[in-house]
Amino acid sequence: MKICVLIKQVPDAGSVLRIRDDESWVEEDKLVFTANESDSYALEEALLLKEAHGGEVIACTLGPERSRQVLKDALSKGADRAIFLHDESFNNLDCNGLAKVFAKVLEKEHCDLILCGLQADDTGEAAVGPMLAQELHLPHVTMVVQTELLDGGLKVKQELEGGWFRQVETSLPALLTIQSGINKPRYASLRGIMAMKKKELRELSATDLGVPATELAPMQTLQRIYVPVKTKETVYLEGAPEEVVAQLVDKLANEAKVL
């Protein structure tokens, strides 16, 4: 089984975000970056499938120099090799463009399975997975919370809204988008980290891939980002912890009358 996992590097959930003066994006210099949460679950699922059925796990990311780290982490956890898509011209890709670039790389890899996260925690378009499946003419299943390999195919449990699920069967090769909670992502072991240093991490540019820039021109433009204007009147309780607690008990008892 040959599996490729797409891992995006995103700011850590606990990051304090500062918007650039020109409102084009957030200041990145003080941010801590990490692998997108659902992508970490996708990587673990790939490693579990490989351990159970044999094969190879390839980790792939596209992004600036800093994002090389998510590949090193994936290699340390047990991925066999990594592909780093890195090029100035990739900076302005929209999700259609990203899917085209990933398709260029993956059409040569002939994977049995491609795993994505269900959405990126930063820009959250929830689009790249199904778009890539379309580019590669592969079947896809979104929001997968369990996988089981069948003879020549795959049975997965798909999450639906409101606590509902269903079983879905697909032929292979296929693309899945993985929902969080599907497994327990592992930590890298010291041995894994040592082994990582000897593994292949291949960097590819737009020229290497032979994707014409015209095909990648974004069809959408990010005009600006900003902190949303608050619409609800929240009563903030301030002071030392004891005071805050006393105020809250008073409000709940006498104003909201919910105690």
């Binding site: 379309q134 929001m143 969080s180 909201a256």
Partner: protein, 321 residues
Amino acid sequence: MGKILAFIQLDDGQPNRNALEALQGGQQLAADMGHQLIGVVFSASSPQQLQFKMDEIITVAAPELEHYSADTYVAAMAQIIAAEQPDLLIAGHTYQARDWLPRLAAQISRPLISDCIGFQKGAQITWVRQVFQGKVHADVTTGEGLAIVSFQAGAFRHDRLESGSPAIRSQEVDLSAVEVQVRAGEPFQDTKAAVDLSRAERIVAVGRGIGDEEKLALVRELAEALGAELGSSRPVVDYGWLSHDRQVGSSGQTVAAKLYLAVGISGAIQHQVGMKNCGCIVAINKDANAPIFEIADYGIVADLFEIVPRLTAAIKEHRSA
């Protein structure tokens, strides 16, 4: 005159609520842009309830569309788009829409602006979407030609839909060549939920901010003192710290408690949709910019470990007084 197609997702023949909200957005867009608004249902007949102001409703019937599949939905909509040449295709950002709209956008090579919370009119429409899980908003525009836009649950209000009696037109599609590659079974729920949070009067909900499974005891004690059920955000369930029936949100339970106390929960939209209708919402979070404060009645910006034990003690004292 331009054209807006509004895809109206039907669940067991009934219009999906999120789709109706998007339709209300469509009515606003049509008025602002002077465009036609055309509903599209993948069904032989238009459901009775669709008595809303639209220029028409297109019904699309084909045996292949009776059960949802991304392959047939994409093929059918691509044919409708080719016939109608719309400027916009809008839909609710449902799980189903997440599954097939990106695939459609890739197939016809058009931009997808997903999960929008609104728009601003101007020389061109600016779409507003959340980034960084709602902490920041982004304005996005597209160039000429068809754009596909999905709207977040609650972006517009279905109870503000203008009524009307649109003409109904059926449109043929040919899906005989579509190979359905994915076969889905019937929806099911896991073991019957042991806890029914939807009936709880008070809920203390805990999020990833608790940091550690052992620390859950702190919020358990608070819940006990308040006579509240314990609820949680998704990560706490993902980590296996609490069972799935404690999860509040779009993939968990929807609750309407009189008191909802959110501890260490950031308030991502998928959590908010499950609890925003609670009577009194209290948020304890150390990040003043956490989106949970957007819907909180009372906010405490502080370290939860400083607040929660003291709050438990104060509640006990209040109750015994």
